[in-house]
Amino acid sequence: MRRGMANVAPPLLLALVFLGVWEIYVDIKGVDPLLLPAPHAMFAEIWDNAGLLWSNFAITAKEVVFGLSLALVGGFAMAVAIHLWTPMRRAVYPHTVGSQAIPIAVIAAPLCFWWGFGIFPKLVVIALICFFPVVVTTVDGLAAVDPDQRKLLRTLDASRWQAFRFGELPAALPAALSGARIALAVGVIGAFIAETSTPSTGPYAGLGREITSDLTALQTPRAYAATAVLFVFAIVCFYALTIAERKLSPWSSQRRGEIH
């Protein structure tokens, strides 16, 4: 319990200081709330629009979770293929880098043409934005396996597949999970990009849509309220992934624990 407090108190304190400075600045300078609303106005919007924000949050959260899962599975599979098969590395690796330069708006139209206005094209956009860090960290993790360990597995007569399964795969897992955390950090903004670049049907279209429509409707405080929700959501996801990492690769967090 005390440890929980020690983890939560410092970031909370920092947030309070930041919000305080922000509030005072807006107050003293008399900044137009259309440009930069005061924190109290933002919180008032959260309070008044809790239902609306929650409904939109549910959409965005679903997109992030599924889009990220798609990126993790796809990125990991691609990394394994790149690692095991040299022609694949030569052919595909440069293009994965190039894919990160594609503005989503350019490909939004065909995505919707193929998959409609539902959630799936949005998942594809998020996965496209998120898969890259997973691929890079996993490929590096797989390649960084101790050469002596490979030799050991060879002397124990391990086949290529067994060397991968007993040696490389678990050795690369911590790196892959680090990639997943980076992917998550871009995944939330990825959801924003996905929502704003592809059309949706239905009453709620997610927080990203909410933010852009609030901004055009001169409802700036509400856009800030939605942004605050995204901010907290990213933090929660990050820690959820850290806990998952501790469960999946206890040896790496234990070793890290020794160093500190």
Binding site: D146, D148, Q149, K151, L152, L153, R154, T155, L156, D157, A158, S159, Q162, F166, G167, P170, A171, L173, S249, W251, S252, Q254, R255, E258
Partner: protein
Amino acid sequence: MQTQLKPRESPTHEPRDPHASVCLDSVSRAYVDRRGRAVPALADVSLRAARGSVLAVVGPSGCGKTTLLELICGLQRPDGGTIACEPAVLMPQRDLLLPWLNALENAVLALRIAGAPRAQARARGAALFAELGLGGFEQARPHELSGGMRQRVAFVRTLLSGKPVLCLDEPFGALDAITRLEMQGWLTNALAREPRTVVLVTHDVEEAIVLADRVAVLSPRPGRVAAELTVDLPRLPPSMAGPRSPTDPTVVALREQAMRTLAESRVA
């Protein structure tokens, strides 16, 4: 046991000498360094290890001892000469226990690789753990074990590969003197219970003589066999198995002889 071993791309096949597990005839091996020059590691090395015996290889660092073991295990090919060995397994200098497996799972890795079901592999490993005084450490993670314990687990892993020849690369090199003595006793005991042909590489002359039946002294790079000494002391029965006393007059004399050979080969 031998029938389930897969043939490898190595030149290992049944030795021509029926009593020897390991036969090396005028083996040479060179490396290509970064500038593309050939650096000889071993030159004209001929060695025999009789079945069930311990052959120690001593020499200064960089004399190609590790190369020798990798050649015997088929991890490298010789540039010249012939190698005829029974299937051999390498126990590398570092224990290389996999951090994501516990001690028992690490020890039975070879059984799992050979396709044994998890429960059956664990049962065999647990029996050997109990026999070799490792009982109670099955669930320990490698980072929780001391250096000596890690080497023991690594040795059990090597034993369980089921191969008749064990190549031990400075197994106690990284241990403190007290643990090393303890480990020498433990190894002798383990080998008395699980007899194998052992090629033991070490830079410690005394360790070689108290543990081995024969000692090959290698010269500095490129490694050549400068002398081969037979440790002519009776083996104790398994019940009393242990390393020889370092103060035994025969051991002392052999140690002198080996040291002199090492010094001479360095000058030459």
